[in-house]
């Protein structure tokens, strides 16, 4: 992660009442002092190994080139921003994807409006850079934070201006879904993210015992909420209910992409 990012107050979330930037913390969220990892002696051995390996190991980059790795680090830093975390507690987001693409692991299916995952990321990088060039005249990584957010928002909205030749052969909505899926997989698989959202994590063999009314276990902590605003420079805090779409294809903007395949 880019350490100088932390010095830029426009990239930090703000206190709702005062608008003052919030200092980066080891564990953002509403569960002060909660640590799932502190409970790992109570987990079974296989689970403890899988989770602690995820925290301790930083595997070598094997699939992406150095440039590609830097590019995706920049992009993923907007998809799940971490400027509210101290640098020592930022969660690696691109390394798990690099590993997945290196071993060619998939989720077990590919939309026929999409290329193979490896190609999708290659084409995606090209398309995002073209979008940045067309909108702001520079490569994605050379843009200021807000413009980077806006470039990605065009993909998010399914309305990119540039690279129509790429989006003609790769569904922009399914690409967004692929990229967000990978970044969610990486961030919310990490026990530091569990601490942030108050998820108790593994509970075998000890069990969860307080099932009702959202009560914490003796080793969990109660929620202490505080109100906060997204960083000044960000546009990614805007939400839009998609509840009116009742089919998956509508909700993911894929209705018109009827398969050409017919045997």
């Amino acid at each position: 992660m880019n350490k100088s990012a932390d010095l830029d107050f426009t990239k930090l979330p703000r206190e709702a009442a005062t608008g003052k930037p919030l200092e980066p913390r080891r564990t953002p969220g509403y569960y002060p002092g909660f640590s799932t990892l502190s409970q790992s002696p109570f987990w079974d051995d296989a689970t403890r190994q899988v989770v602690t390996r995820r925290v301790d190991l930083s595997p070598a980059v094997k699939f992406f080139s150095a440039e590609e790795f830097e590019f995706w680090t920049g992009v993923f830093g907007h998809l799940v921003p971490q400027t509210d975390r101290t640098p020592d507690r930022q969660i690696p987001l691109v390394a798990p994807l690099d590993h997945r693409l290196y071993v060619n692991q998939t989720v077990g299916y590919r939309y026929d409006t999409m290329p193979q995952d490896r190609d999708a990321y290659r084409l995606g990088r090209e398309a995002i850079n073209k979008e940045a060039l067309q909108q702001y005249g520079r490569d994605f990584l050379a843009l200021p934070y807000r413009q980077q957010d806006l470039v990605l928002k065009a993909i998010h909205d399914g309305k990119p201006y540039a690279a129509q030749e790429i989006w003609g052969s790769m569904s922009v909505h399914r690409f967004w879904q692929l990229m967000m899926g990978d970044v969610i997989d990486a961030y919310y698989a990490h026990p530091w993210a569990w601490d942030e959202i108050g998820f108790g994590g593994p509970a075998y063999p000890r069990a969860y015992t307080r099932l009702e009314n959202g009560e914490p276990e003796p080793w969990e902590v109660k929620e202490k909420r505080h109100e906060w605003l997204a960083p000044e420079a960000a546009v990614s805090h805007e939400l839009e209910s998609a509840a009116h779409h009742h089919t998956e294809a509508d909700q993911h903007g894929a209705t018109k992409e009827v398969s050409a395949k017919e045997s």
Binding site: M180, N213, A242
Partner: protein, 581 residues
């Protein structure tokens, strides 16, 4: 206490902790050779394959099961972790398309001994009597070649074998009760009860779900850890790996894991003689068999039949009707999310623990046929993140903020009946897998009735969530389960197999899994698949050696043979004399 008195929990076997699987199989597995012509070869040891293997072995047949995935050592291989559990799902390549493409993989496809029952949420409602005659009643879909009374004894028996926990009185379909007690409520279950009660909708509390609410012999009780669909390390949730495979092995069945079947071989005389498969090392083998049963589920079963095309069956084995791969069904599985001021912590308790089938049947007031169920679900953080992505288009800081409220959300899943259509189908793609076998292309398209049903069901489920007191209600559109694509029927021109699962075209080739279901109702299919397997097993056992020697097709329905169930799974009830004097 910072850690357990004897230190961090260690793997089983060091005498320090009572942890891990309590069922040890001390019998060496029987091994057949490829020269042995076994009686039955079963492709896929999942929900159906596990039950078939057990029944046929207990009846004394020589049975081999070939399974593409591993034989799990649950304590070593399974983890309480979403990202670490991907090997439970079918991750080999497939292509998905159509106007409404289906997500596959973790959504609906298992791999390894136990198959989908390893990662199901284990809701086990029965089909309703109406499900077997939707064409007669509503003029949609197709009738089954059997009726509810044909499958009912198998529902009753399998509910004891898993066993199923549920309420003493279950009011829908053919009303019945459950022998094993219901589960306590988690936060999501309480939310469903609150919402349904406010709208005067009856609700089933604590089941039916194939998870132990109390101890059962040496199988431990549920510990409410919430990782049901990541594989139950506890052993409280039923899978055929626990319920039927151990008995099958004790009775002399063999399971070969990591074996991918590539084609079923047909001899000149029109009978199958065995299957070719790739073993763990990637070598091609041929196992001779007197009869073959394909239990590969709704995508791999038709794929194997299509990949087994040969002279006489150029369009796929057992496909003279052209229906192999067609009439594939998924259920509408929209997830409705509600935010509450009071924390819910929906990761505690099994995802499956309360439901309503009040909207299951056709209602003349609606503009569509058939109906839906509303059930509890309990997404863990990664799944919930993707629901926020779909339902609120969340990303960046918006996603981070929504996720910090994870503990304030509850989730219901609707389960809506999508009808069988011939353009929803599995075909072969040009792409090949690592064995060089063409992969499946799945095409899925919603039709008018389906879309109307989903819209209504989604709105009703959102209404229930709002009535429960949610301050915000959102919704992720998706699908659940897969059935069809090798359907059963009485007419060989419009179906692949007969009412016992025997292919119309080839007398010693059977299909037994979810793919033979002609329609699907709004019930989770796991119980029905296992009940159909037990029924097919009874038929095969009643036919004895005739299946191996003759092309005659005896359509007599045999009585249920409860004595072939795993030991101790029936016969403990209040005595009631029903025989003639």
């Amino acid at each position: 206490m910072k850690e357990p008195i004897l230190g961090a929990f260690q793997p089983p076997g060091n005498d320090q902790h009572m942890l891990g699987a309590l069922q040890f199989l001390h019998v060496p597995m029987r091994k057949f050779t490829q020269q042995d012509e076994v009686d039955y070869l079963i492709v896929g040891i999942g929900a159906a394959g596990g039950v078939l293997l057990q029944r046929l072995a207990r009846a004394g047949f020589n049975v081999v099961g070939l399974e593409a995935g591993p034989f799990w050592d649950t304590e070593r291989d399974w983890v309480s972790d979403e990202a670490g559990s991907h090997e439970l799902y079918w991750e080999d390549p497939r292509v998905t398309g159509g106007s409404d493409p289906l997500a596959l993989g973790a959504n609906n496809c298992g791999k390894g001994v136990g198959g989908g029952t390893v990662h199901w949420a284990a809701f086990t409602p029965r089909l309703h009597p109406s499900d077997f005659e939707v064409y007669t009643r509503d003029g949609v879909g197709v009738d089954w070649p059997i009726n509810y009374e044909d499958i009912r004894p198998y529902y009753e028996q399998l509910e004891l074998e898993m066993p199923v926990a549920g309420p003493a009185y279950y009011p829908w379909g053919h009303p019945h009760g459950y022998a094993y007690g219901p589960h306590p409520m988690g936060g999501v279950g309480n939310t469903l009860i609150r919402g349904c009660s406010a709208l005067n909708i009856p609700v089933s509390i604590g089941g039916p779900v194939a998870i132990l609410s109390g101890s059962h012999g040496d199988r431990p009780h549920c510990i409410y850890r919430g990782f049901c669909i990541q594989g139950c390390k506890v052993g409280a949730k039923a899978s055929t790996l626990i319920t039927h495979v151990p008995d099958a092995l004790k009775q002399g069945a063999e399971i070969r894991d990591h074996c991918m079947v590539s084609r079923v071989e047909l001899a000149k005389e029109g009978r199958v003689t065995g299957v070719y498969y790739f073993d763990r090392a990637g070598n091609v083998n041929f196992q001779k068999a007197k009869a073959v049963i394909i239990s590969g589920y709704a995508i791999e079963t038709p794929r194997l039949l299509l990949n087994s095309a040969c002279p006489g069956f150029e369009n796929g084995l057992a496909n003279s009707s052209g229906t192999v791969g067609r009439y594939l069904m998924a259920q509408a599985g929209n997830v409705v999310l509600g935010r509450f001021e009071q924390p819910v912590r929906m990761y505690k308790a099994p995802p499956a623990h309360a439901l309503t089938e009040e909207f299951y049947e056709t209602d003349p007031k609606n503009d569509f046929a058939r109906g839906f169920a509303i059930q509890t679900v309990g997404p863990l953080p990664i799944a919930f993140g993707k629901q926020m992505l779909a339902s609120k288009k969340a990303w960046g800081w918006g996603l981070r903020r929504e996720m910090m409220d994870y503990n304030h959300w509850a989730a219901f899943g609707l389960l809506g009946e999508i009808l069988p259509w011939d353009d929803n189908r599995v075909t072969l793609a040009d792409e090949k897998d690592r064995f060089g076998l063409p992969v499946a292309h799945v095409s899925f398209n919603l039709h008018d009735n389906d879309k109307k049903l989903i819209k209504f069901a989604k709105e009703k489920t959102m209404e229930v969530m709002a009535a429960a007191g949610a301050t915000e209600v959102e919704q992720e559109a998706r699908y659940a389960h897969l059935v069809g694509a090798a359907r059963m029927g009485s007419n060989p021109a419009t179906s692949v197999v007969d009412k016992f699962g025997r292919s119309h075209d080839i007398a010693n080739l059977f299909v037994c899994d979810g793919s033979i279901m002609p329609t699907q109702g709004s019930a989770n299919p796991g119980l029905t698949i296992q009940a159909l397997a037990a029924r097919t097993a009874d038929y095969l056992i009643s036919q004895g050696a005739r299946v191996f020697q003759s092309n005659d097709r005896d359509m007599t329905t045999p009585p249920i043979r409860k004595e072939l169930a795993p030991a101790e799974t029936w016969g403990k009830g209040v005595p009631r004399l029903t025989g003639k004097p």
